[in-house]
């Protein structure tokens, strides 16, 4: 079963790798954008899908990564091997501070507190007069990766794609690890997790910081992609869009958010040619997705190809047994 899922993933990756020579600069840049937003959406999935934490502030960490990378580049540090890891560290520190406070709340309050922190960071960035204030600032050039120049769009695309694959593999490792089991357990039933002996707070904080680091990396990539950084990279709209990408693609799947990002951006690209009110059409689509498709586009793809269902925890063992004859579904409610 997982073999087909692997095959589907391989196919997607093959298409992503084969793309640039056929599609020209515009669409190579577009694909780069998808990969970057896909990475940011994946970081949201780690929180939303795997930890049950609905954050409305992930754009702030994305933006912090973008600002950190952008500022370092302007200061003349142009080796990506230095600036990108630094951007990740800075984002993780911000995530640590924001998470340490906001994770003391839960549910709806958590959504609002993360939004509030994101707005604080947003207005702080806006107040940076030396860095263009509301207008942001441009980067003189892209960073270089060691000796490799990233000025070429295709080269940059492949670097971003490679990092995305790396992040997916890493995140996949994390969510299946012992730590991953604890955060999923906390998502399923926090009270029970505490009752068996897991203090929820430190585990939630660590996944929040990890997700913040991934968002920060995506932000650093975006700064280099656009050679431009502005407070818009940390607007609350982007936080909402990242959530929409996750939900569109399929939460709790790591790949779904990337697929979601592709659909979201493609939709925006096509629709905004016709009207600037493209949200008018996208909104109903998102609602239709929630009402009609149980587990998002990625889930649909998996089912259409007969690969296994996403969402359910992956087990090494053969297909889970059917419920025993005497059990009635729903009897537990």
């Amino acid at each position: 079963m997982t073999l087909r899922r692997g095959a589907l993933l391989f196919l997607l990756l093959a298409v992503a790798i084969a793309l640039p020579p056929y599609c020209g600069t515009y669409y190579t840049r577009f694909a780069t954008q998808i990969a970057i937003y896909g990475m940011a959406a994946l970081s949201v999935d780690l929180l939303l899908g795997y930890s049950g934490l609905i954050t409305f502030g992930q754009a702030a960490l994305f933006g912090v990564g973008a600002y950190a990378a952008g500022m370092l580049t302007v200061y003349g540090l142009t080796d990506a091997l230095v600036t990108w890891p630094l951007a990740v560290v800075v984002s993780m520190l911000f995530a640590l501070a924001i998470g340490a406070l906001s994770l003391r709340t839960r549910g709806f309050q958590f959504i609002m507190v993360t939004l509030a922190f994101a707005q604080m960071v947003y207005y702080f960035a806006q107040s940076l007069r030396n860095w263009g204030g509301d207008d942001g600032f441009t980067l003189p050039q892209r960073d270089s990766l060691g000796f490799i120049s990233l000025a070429d769009h295709t080269t940059f695309y492949y670097v971003v794609l490679a990092l995305l694959v790396l992040v997916v593999l890493l995140a996949n490792r994390i969510v299946r690890s012992e730590f991953g089991m604890v955060i999923r357990g906390i998502r399923d039933n926090e009270r029970r997790a505490a009752a068996v002996g897991f203090p929820p707070y430190p585990y939630k904080l660590v996944i929040f910081v990890i997700a913040g680091g991934i968002a920060g990396l995506a932000g650093a990539l975006m700064a280099n992609h656009a050679k431009f950084v502005s407070p818009a990279t940390m607007s609350w709209q982007l936080s909402g869009e990242l959530l929409a990408m996750v939900i569109l693609g399929s939460a709790n799947s790591l790949i779904g958010p990337i697929v979601g990002a592709a659909f979201f951006l493609a939709f925006r690209d096509v629709l905004s040619d016709f009207t600037e009110h493209w949200m008018l059409f996208f909104g109903p689509l998102l609602i239709a997705r929630v009402l009609l498709v149980k587990d998002g586009i990625w889930g649909m793809l998996l089912r259409a190809t007969g690969a296994d269902k996403v969402g359910a925890p992956k087990v090494d063992f053969p297909e889970a047994l059917e419920p025993a004859a005497d059990s009635k579904p729903g009897a537990a409610e």
């Binding site: 994390i174 047994l321 537990a332």
Partner: protein, 258 residues
């Protein structure tokens, strides 16, 4: 060291004007199975909540294994060996049965900040989990997603999870709630086999189970312990008869009181 494993010392908890735990003092001896009974609304679940640390008492102390645990978090208490099962099924829905127990086994390790090795392939978690699944009678269902299991199976699973943490003491909050006659009997048998392994505080409405399992019984009415003694002493206690007058058998009752 006192003879008591768990000492509840002048515990008090009020919700507004309602005193749910009214100066409760109770000792649970090492190795005994102590049943706590009482009519609906007597404050049983409130008391358990304070023992596990989910509720903060207004006054009084809780001593466990010679140590004052009144201020400790739920997770800390669990790590000291105080395990519980919930009155209302409380499991990890998206995990398999075995995954549920494996996660509970994992909770006995010093920490779970291990990010690399897939948990499903870790034998030191999976093997004990498999054994516990067998112990609680769920062997063929180990790979079933927990949300697809029946209510009775959930109760067995909860017990497996509680046992996985190597508890010194089990707090069982109505383990028979909602079980059919057959299932109750099986659970009763299972509990009887656990008696030797650890100290148990059993909160239960099923009087057959209580009288057959418990070494001692305490009766909670209106937040107060009105009687404490052996099964025979309780059976013949006049105050208890009054408290239970007209009280129906509660098997199959889902009311979320305590």
């Amino acid at each position: 060291m006192s003879e008591f494993l768990l000492e509840i010392d002048h515990l008090r908890k009020a919700f507004g004007a309602l005193v749910a735990t009214d100066d409760v003092t109770l000792g649970i001896r090492k190795g005994e199975t102590h049943a706590l009974i009482g009519p609906n609304g007597a404050g049983k679940t409130t008391l358990v909540g304070q023992l596990t640390g989910e509720l903060k008492p207004d006054a009084g102390r809780i001593i466990f294994d010679g140590r004052d645990i009144s201020e400790l978090s739920t997770a800390r208490r669990a790590r000291l060996g105080l395990a519980r099962s919930f009155q209302i099924t409380s499991i990890f829905d998206s995990f398999t049965a075995e995954g549920n127990v494996a996660l509970a086994v994992q909770a006995t390790e010093r920490h779970s900040f291990r990010f690399w090795q897939p948990a499903e392939r870790i034998a030191r978690l999976r093997q004990p989990a498999r054994k516990l699944i067998a112990d609680v009678g769920l062997s063929p269902l180990g790979n079933l997603i927990a949300s697809k299991m029946s209510h009775g199976q959930h109760r067995q699973l909860e017990l497996g999870m509680a046992l996985a943490t190597h508890p010194i003491m089990l707090l069982l909050d109505e383990p028979m709630a909602g079980l059919g006659i057959e299932e109750s009997r099986a659970m009763s048998k299972l509990l009887a086999s656990l008696k030797r392994q650890c100290t148990i505080l059993l909160i239960e409405h099923d009087m057959d189970a209580v009288f057959s399992l418990a070494d001692r019984i305490s009766v909670l009415v209106g937040g107060r312990i009105v009687a404490s003694g052996t099964a025979d002493e309780i059976r013949n206690h006049p105050g208890v008869r009054v408290a239970y007058l007209g009280e129906e058998d509660d098997v199959g009752d889902f009311r979320a009181d305590g």
